[in-house]
Amino acid sequence: MTNLSDFTPNEMMTIAAARALSNDDVCFVGIGAPSAACNVARLTHAPDITLIYESGTIGTAPNVLPLSIGDGELCETAVTTVSVPEMFRYWLQGGRISIGFLGAAQLDRFGNINTTVIGDYHKPKVRLPGGGGAPEIASSCKQVFITMKQATRGMVEKIDFYTSFGHGEGGNHRERLGIKTKGPTLLITDLAIWKPDPETKEFTVVSMHRGVTRDKVQETCGWKARFSDRLEETPPPSELELTTLRELQARTEKAHGGKKGN
């Protein structure tokens, strides 16, 4: 039986993200925590959720987590698989995605994200992979959920590069740029759940995971963290949630560890 008391912060993050998803959602899924969260949601409370990976696979139901955005199982279990231009034109730009997931190398308090470079763009200290789908995921999905592990290196006062636009300088900055979608509405970390303030759009801690203190949240965050007046404790993983996640990861481990080319 699952030991409910020893869940990890990562597990809590994934499960908290899964809970934020519903049966009617159409999710643009990235690899890693978002993929785990979406599939836990599908295997628990949201069996009819639609998962889309940018490789063109629409309505997939993988039995194990994909290692890449275009694993064969995503196609095999999909309702349909379309070309990548169609994916970005009809499905993402067409406004059909309710929730897009983004991760971040650097994140600021307004949900702006950098995954491009550390340092100057033209003379980078570290050349990161870049945006991929992120710039348009950030503007075309109805809402954006961000998942990341808290660290002062990642949650910074000022990001080095605007890979994707969150709430900019806050307030109605999105509207001023003619962006009609809501942008980041949820930040789920290994320590807490954050939501943008309705007015300023600054991320505010609305719930801390069990055992997490305000100090811990602040120590791992590079900006001065704001806490909601009605701060809650995130309900710990249920047995179903934790078992589902762990079994999914065990199946994934087994499936991907096995085969190797000559």
Partner: protein, 281 residues
């Protein structure tokens, strides 16, 4: 009109020093065998286009074939960074490379526009994003009906496109299935195209009418290379070699290890090695 050739001939005839070239395949069907042949033939000063440069371009960049890379995500999918590409960008080893960076949406639209014979792609993109400040090839047009400002980027029109596919028939028609990516667009956008295939069959008689097929008169050269996508995969033939992607992270971390790997696995072997690599996958 598609010619059936050896990989050596196909690369020699179609890829020239200084060419703008796309090796495409979105996770699936990445034409590794063709890229290795380009490395063996020592092409120079290439402009490499690819949404996800991936380890296939990491190898070409590491061997100094590229002068420029046009891309949207420079990672080893599911693993991490591209260490040879970083070494070229950060330390100019083995040579400096120029980069032109886009988003996936932009790259996909640019291929689409290339296939459609247009000079540029028009889409809703880059709102508030930093790339449009650093990439002069991201511009805009204004919708003449609503006044909305839309992003515009030049269409991709490579000199040559390389793709890998499941099969060709004797006439030279090519079938691509599963995750089809941007391959059809890359081939139609390019002046010349080389397709490596797992299998050559007599004909395609019983295919569903709406599959992704490149008619023979849109393809320049067809090469039979079983396993030619390894360590990527071919739907219906073999799975992705995830271990090889993980291993690449170590090999590519060290210049000497990298050079030794290329010598052993690329320079001293030919395309026939690929069939063996996918056994058991």
């Amino acid at each position: 009109m598609a010619k059936f050739q050896s990989l050596k001939e196909a690369v020699a005839e179609n890829l020239r020093d200084g060419d703008v070239v796309a090796f495409e395949g979105f996770t699936h069907l990445i034409p590794h065998a063709a890229a290795h042949e380009a490395i063996r033939q020592g092409r120079k000063d290439l402009t490499l286009i690819r949404m996800t440069p991936d380890i296939v371009y990491d190898q070409m960049i590491g061997m100094g074939l590229a002068k420029k890379v046009i891309f949207s995500y420079a990672g080893n999918p599911g693993v991490g960074l591209l260490r040879r590409m970083r070494d070229a960008i950060e330390n100019s080893w083995p040579r400096g490379i120029e980069t032109e960076e886009h988003s996936h949406a932009s790259m996909a639209n640019a291929y689409e526009a290339g296939a459609a014979g247009l000079p540029c792609a028009v889409f809703r993109g880059y709102r508030g994003a930093g790339l449009k400040e650093v990439n002069p090839n991201i511009r805009s047009v204004t919708c003449p009906f609503t006044g909305e400002e839309l992003a515009a980027v030049p269409a991709h029109r490579p000199d040559v496109a390389f793709v890998h596919a499941q099969k060709a028939n004797r006439r030279g028609d090519v079938l691509v299935e599963g995750i089809i990516g941007v391959q059809k667009e890359a081939v139609l956008a390019a002046k010349r195209s080389v397709v490596t295939v797992e299998e050559i069959v007599e004909d395609f008689d019983d295919l569903h009418p709406n599959l992704c097929i490149l008619p023979h008169w849109t393809v320049t050269s067809i090469v039979h290379v079983p396993g030619g996508a390894h360590p990527s995969y071919t739907h219906g033939y073999y799975d992705r070699d995830n271990a090889a992607y993980l291993e690449w992270d170590k090999i590519s971390a060290d210049r000497d290890l990298f050079s030794a790997w290329i010598k052993e696995n690329v320079l001293e072997v030919g395309p026939e090695a690929f069939a063996g690599r996918v056994k058991g996958l």
